[in-house]
């Protein structure tokens, strides 16, 4: 990805983000039951959705790395994991801010919250294991193994906790329970955050690539 394309993407991202913010705070009507707090929904859902996308990218790139042995895939995976952890942190935080006025508590050990927390810890462990290994081939292999095992674990975690009762608002998006104006706002917000995610991922990837180039040069000097 060259710098010009990234600039174009950044400008586009800013415009869509401004549109999304306008829709979230001005255009969309206030929800009847929850009031103004419900607007967090338009941040929370895109963040959660993209966090899953991020970890899916980690999973796919980890498989590719183990098959192809090309460190490029490892760089994509680790960049995606970092952005994913940030997005997970943000969706946990936004959910918490929403929960305080609606449920009366910042946190409850409700199954889906617990699952999100476990997910967050798994990918922090993924980033941690990278710190513990110095050899970069080995680091990439270990991280890939954790990336695959972690992602495969997520549905089992989800399954285990859906057997518990749940008080998280059930997904209304696909049941036609969302008013059209709310749906449009959500879609624009998802688009805005998707572009933001792509920009962050590409930036981090460029950063990692530079770092690996520098390390190669360092080795040459030695």
């Amino acid at each position: 990805m060259n710098v010009d394309k990234l600039k174009v993407l950044t400008v586009a991202g800013c415009l869509v983000m401004i549109a999304a913010l306008y829709m979230i705070f001005v255009y969309v009507p206030t929800e009847a039951n929850m009031g103004v707090v419900q607007r967090i929904f338009y941040f929370h859902v895109p963040l959660a959705w993209l966090a899953f996308v991020a970890f899916f990218i980690v999973f796919i790139c980890s498989i590719f790395f183990l098959i192809k042995k090309d460190l490029k895939w490892d760089r994509v995976a680790s960049s995606s994991a970092e952005v994913g952890v940030i997005f997970t942190t943000l969706f946990l935080a936004s959910g918490s801010i929403w929960a305080k006025p609606i449920w009366g508590v910042w946190w409850t050990w409700e199954p889906r919250l617990t699952a999100a927390l476990v997910l967050w810890i798994i990918y922090i462990a993924y980033l941690l294991i990278r710190l513990y290994v110095t050899n970069k081939e080995q680091r990439a292999r270990f991280a890939a193994v954790v990336g695959i095992a972690g992602f495969v674990d997520v549905p089992i975690v989800a399954l285990a906790i859906t057997l518990w009762r749940t008080e998280h608002p059930s997904p209304v998006i696909f049941e036609g329970g969302l008013a059209p104006s709310m749906l449009y706002t959500l879609l624009v917000s998802i688009a805005a955050f998707s572009i933001l995610f792509t920009i962050l991922l590409l930036q981090k990837l460029a950063n990692n690539t530079l770092e690996s180039d520098i390390n190669k040069l360092k080795e040459k000097i030695k």
């Binding site: 183990l66 476990v118 810890i121 798994i122 462990a125 941690l128 294991i129 513990y132 290994v133 110095t134 080995q138 292999r141 270990f142 890939a144 193994v145 954790v146 695959i148 095992a149 972690g150 495969v152 674990d153 089992i156 975690v157 399954l159 285990a160 906790i161 057997l163």
Partner: protein
């Protein structure tokens, strides 16, 4: 058949070395006893409290004991260069994985089968039922399947024994949830049909992690 003979050779090697050095089973058993005693201080000995806390106490103890014994399993291989010896042997990496998983499973089961009656005795609970033994077996299989993979990884990192719990504990969350829930249900007198869902979850974790670990183990162990 040949595959299982080689697997058994590795498992048998571990069993012999355990018999001679007595490094894992005895130490982990002492650890388990200590944890049970400490839990007793934490929760008191009230009958009502114990009934609620017992499944959690049991599985926290077993999960931590699992981490300890899994860690030892590969630290012992790493010392004296045994791992290099295994790598040089004319066997596939999958055989090493299966053999080590079997021996870890065996050691953990021995510890748990000794700890269960002690736990039952100390807290006056009926833990020696076929249901609880089944739950214990399935959960321990999951611990061993997932833990062997990460323990092989952990010994090759800088932080060593710190790495296994960091990776292992979040991933085995479904097993711990399932085991705690199912044990609690059995203790409150529920039947097979009611705990079946939890056994299926633990069982699917076992199968998925056996398959995945079997496939990716060679990437962990190669130099």
């Amino acid at each position: 058949m040949n595959f299982w003979r080689k697997v058994w050779a590795i498992t048998w090697k571990d069993i012999i070395s355990e018999f001679r050095a007595r490094e894992i089973i005895i130490s982990v058993l002492v650890f388990v006893l200590l944890v049970i005693i400490i839990f007793n201080f934490a929760f008191g000995a009230g009958v009502e409290v114990i009934k609620i806390a017992a499944p959690g106490m049991l599985w926290v103890t077993f999960a931590f004991a699992g981490v300890l014994s899994l860690n030892r399993s590969f630290i012992l291989e790493k010392e004296e260069g045994c791992l290099e010896g295994l790598m040089a042997a004319p066997i596939s990496r999958e055989i090493i994985y299966t053999g080590k998983t079997l021996s870890s499973l065996g050691f953990m089961l021995v510890v748990e089968l000794i700890a269960l009656p002690i736990f039952a005795l100390l807290f006056n609970l009926n833990l020696l039922t076929f249901e609880i033994v089944t739950i214990t077996f399935l959960s321990t299989l999951g611990f061993a399947a997932c833990g062997t993979l990460f323990s092989a990884m952990a010994v090759k990192t800088k932080a060593r024994e710190l790495v296994l719990p960091v990776l292992f504990l979040p991933l085995v969350v479904p097993v711990i949830i399932g085991a705690v829930k199912a044990t609690g249900m059995v203790l409150s007198g529920q039947t097979w049909a009611e705990i079946a869902n939890w056994l299926i979850i633990i069982g699917s974790f076992d199968i998925i992690f056996l398959v995945i670990s079997f496939w990716v183990f060679r990437f962990v162990i190669e130099e």
